[in-house]
Amino acid sequence: MNEDKFIQVNNLEKTYENGYQAIKSVSFSVKKGDLVCLLGPSGCGKTTTLNMIAGLLNPTGGDIIVNGKSLLNVAPKDRNIGYVFQNYALYPHMTVLQNVMFPMTVGKNKKPKDEAEKIAQKFMKLTHIEELADQKPGNLSGGQQQRVSIARALVQEPQILLMDEPLSNLDARLRLKIREEIRNLVKEVGITTLFVTHDQEEALSIGDKIILFHNGVIQQDDKGQDLYLEPNNQFVANFIGNPVIDNFDVKVTDKKISGTDFEIPVEKLDSTKFRGDLADGDYTLSIRPENLKLSDEGELSEVIDDVELIGRERVLKFTHAGTNQRALIDLEQEIKPGDSVKFKMNLDRVYLFKPDGERIY
């Protein structure tokens, strides 16, 4: 068996009866023991994909292979998976212990009561909820409920763990704490995990790799840092990064890239980084706000509309050719609204996208 392709999703499709295509031929693979994030805006198909892997939804095409075996005609309960729901889905009438034990008290995998209890205790210890054993879920905080639902998902020692936005019902501080706990836990247990989220920061910090979805299609399947530094297309560039990337409408003619009030000769770009021929025409030039540097010989002359302080950094907001743009500078450089400044683009970190979103540079 190929450890690198522990989970293989091949040309997965989901078209609903009303004709809506939620998933259009999605393929990816996951290495054994990895924690992979499925990222994307709401309605992009990430949860649909997760539910098809879990068997809660039937795909209309393609295949899902885990550990060398197709799961297509296997019922959810026989897929040997753990699932953590966004709303935790704890059984409100059972205690924490009963909740965690539940998978071992039903179906084919019934275990003797004391054995089940012992296993449950083990996982409750792992998730630090031993002392809540006799509480009902209604009395627990969001974070505690989340731990219970993780313990319940792990108790059958499934081959994969699926998590659907497990942190979105928690407050910001707790979210940071729990996401670290989740990462440590799944690494400790060594379980292959798929983690659905719409929060890029969460995905970047927790995932071994990130699969970015949009409109039912995978936009990019890469390490988090590569998603940021080397976006495949305009969507990825726009979606990843905070503050968002600056986009300038440009025209390429005569080996020159010309925007409104600025011009960059094409030869200044690194010729090895072109992904195709740069034909003349309309393009979007994108650059991350931190790659606009204050400099007297900068290409862009701007008047600052607004300044926002975000901790260590200063966000300068300005309007270029009618669109709002941002630059990220050090806190020390004191710029006030109304100031006139010049920005120099870091040309190593510039992207060019075709009108259809494809990256050309």
């Binding site: 068997g55 809660l56 939804l57 039937n58 019922a75 959810p76």
Partner: protein, 287 residues
């Protein structure tokens, strides 16, 4: 999970079988029987003659008239009393739960048993009602044995029986009215009466429409109250004959099931029509 989980039919099977045999089949059977004559064991097709019979039977028309008079008097009167009572209990006094519990009692009790008490209270010779009427120098009619009063007694009994359900439903609706409406009205200095007419009544309209139609449909089917009040008769000389009583009579006593089913079909279609009107009304009220 499969998109077509056939096992669903397994879970639905007991309900579907029971419904088919005891709800769907009897409707179809009632239709066919309404075109048949003769006793139950020897039914013969006789065309429309059952319908011709009932429409020319003065007894049938009396039953229809009685049912209509009962419905269109008892239902609105009971509804008005219920609204006033529910509003008073809800807004004017303490111990709301106590009064709600008290007023709901008739809903859970046997009509037959309460009918015995009412028969006793209505008794022309030693009944409590006539004793009270005598105290205030009013005439003391024979409530049960005077054919012209049978319907009046039935209406009184019917109002008494239907207050319970109305009050409890109205209390539920009153509780659902956003309390801040009243807080706001208080801030603008609205009087109690203004609050009732300007906030409560408009908010109650859907509930009132619902109660009106449900009560009417219930009233069209009145039977047990008649049986209870007149001790197994439809009043003296059938003076309180109602539609379902007529059907029961033709089916069980006279032994002409075809005629009974023709009357059933007429009643059924009429109720269906009112239900249809109700749906329309509720849709209009809710939108």
């Amino acid at each position: 999970m499969k998109d077509n989980q056939k096992k669903a039919w397994l879970f639905l099977a007991p309900a579907i079988i029971c419904v088919t045999v005891f709800s769907i089949w009897p409707i179809l059977r009632a239709f066919t029987m309404s075109f048949q004559g003769g006793p139950l064991i020897d039914l013969q097709f006789n065309g429309l003659s059952n319908y011709q019979y009932i429409f020319s039977d003065p007894e049938f028309w009396r039953a229809i008239m009685n049912t209509a008079i009962y419905s269109f008097l008892a239902v609105p009167i009971a509804l008005i009393i219920s609204v006033v009572l529910a509003w008073f209990i809800f807004s004017k006094i303490k111990h709301t739960a106590f009064f709600e519990t008290m007023f709901f009692m008739p809903y859970v009790t046997s009509t037959i048993a309460i009918g015995i008490v009412f028969r006793y209270i209505f008794n022309g010779e030693y009944g409590l009602l006539n004793f009270l009427l005598k105290l205030v120098h009013l005439p003391q009619p024979d409530w049960l044995d005077n054919p012209s009063l049978s319907l009046v007694s039935l209406i009184i009994f019917g109002i008494w029986s239907s207050l319970a359900f109305n009050i409890v439903i109205l209390m539920g609706a009153l509780r659902n009215i956003e309390p801040n409406y009243y807080v706001l009205a208080d801030m603008y200095g609205a009087t109690s009466r203004e609050k009732f007419w300007r906030i409560t009544v408009p908010q109650l309209v859907p509930t009132l429409a619902f109660l009106l139609t449900v009560n009417l449909i219930g009233a069209f089917k009145i039977y047990t109250q008649v049986y209870a009040l007149f001790n197994g008769q439809a009043g003296v000389g059938n003076s309180a004959m109602t539609a379902v009583y007529y059907i029961y009579n033709k089916f069980q006593i006279v032994g002409t099931p075809g005629v009974a089913m023709a009357a059933t079909v007429v009643l059924f279609l009429f109720i269906l029509f009112v239900t249809f009107l109700q749906r329309k009304l509720m849709k209009k009220v809710n939108s």
